[in-house]
């Protein structure tokens, strides 16, 4: 990851901006209903190892003098699904082992909750996205080693 950040440092113009957008290293929640009517049903228990490694890589790039952190924001992102099949398909997109062994239990909880909800109720996965803004730093110490 640090190698990729070094390459981005090289490709950016002096004073260029690096924006790192990705899910925050926090568990997502699954709920029913949209926007303000959303009600939490269950937490997802993803393996957050990769997310934490990415955070460390970003800190490392800053400590190497490649980038200067300028701002950081966190906000919820919703994924709205019409049916249980959509939800199942979405879960299957996670890398193998990222959710197991929780995924079946999670699916059953959502299925039960949906069974008592009004027809047409949508399933919404809600989780924080993280946006880090970093400015390219130019100096003798980080111009070598590319």
């Amino acid at each position: 990851m640090v190698h990729a950040l070094r390459k981005l440092h090289r490709l950016l113009k002096p004073d260029g901006l690096l924006l790192d957008l990705r899910p925050a290293a926090k568990h997502r929640r699954i709920g029913l209903g949209e926007s303000r009517r959303w009600k939490s049903v269950a937490w997802m228990r993803e393996d957050l190892t990769d997310d934490r490694a990415a955070n460390r890589a970003l800190k490392r790039a800053a400590s190497l003098g490649l980038f200067q952190p300028e701002a950081k924001a966190e906000f919820d992102l919703d994924r709205v699904m019409d049916t249980l099949d959509d939800f199942r398909e979405w879960m299957s997109d996670f890398p193998s082992g990222k959710l197991a062994p929780e995924d079946d239990r999670l699916y059953r909880r959502v299925e039960r909750a949906l069974g008592t909800a009004r027809p047409g109720t949508r399933i919404v996965a809600r989780g924080p996205l993280s946006l880090s803004v970093l400015r390219k730093q130019v100096g003798e110490e980080n111009e070598g080693g590319h």
Binding site: A4, L5, R10, L12, L17, D20, L21, R22, M81, L129
Partner: protein, 99 residues
């Protein structure tokens, strides 16, 4: 599959606030099927080179690229580590869910 990502548009609003996009040369890393790429073009980026190692997703992105963006967006299969470009080329680099 009926899945709608970010119906409220919070993601693109956060990106809009984070930088001045008009007239900028942008590199997007991890463009996938181009979902975010099109939104970045909508913010006024002059050019976007959007890359992803997944050839099938890049094919999909190319297929759904609107005519109005054809001169501004270029999709490419690959990773940033292997990208052959001259240095100091981009104003903004976006890591789209890819670090």
């Amino acid at each position: 599959m009926a899945l709608v990502m970010d119906p409220a548009g919070d993601e693109i609003q956060a990106l809009k606030k984070a930088a001045s996009w008009r007239g900028r040369n942008v590199l997007e890393v991890g463009c996938g099927d181009g979902r975010l790429t099109l939104r970045l073009a909508g913010l006024g980026a002059l050019s976007i080179l959007a890359i992803d190692p997944d050839a099938a997703l890049v094919r999909e992105a190319r297929k759904t690229l609107p005519e109005r963006y054809r001169g501004r967006i270029r999709y490419q299969v690959g990773s940033v580590e292997r990208l052959r470009r001259r240095r100091d080329q981009f104003d903004i680099a976006v890591l789209s869910w890819s670090l």
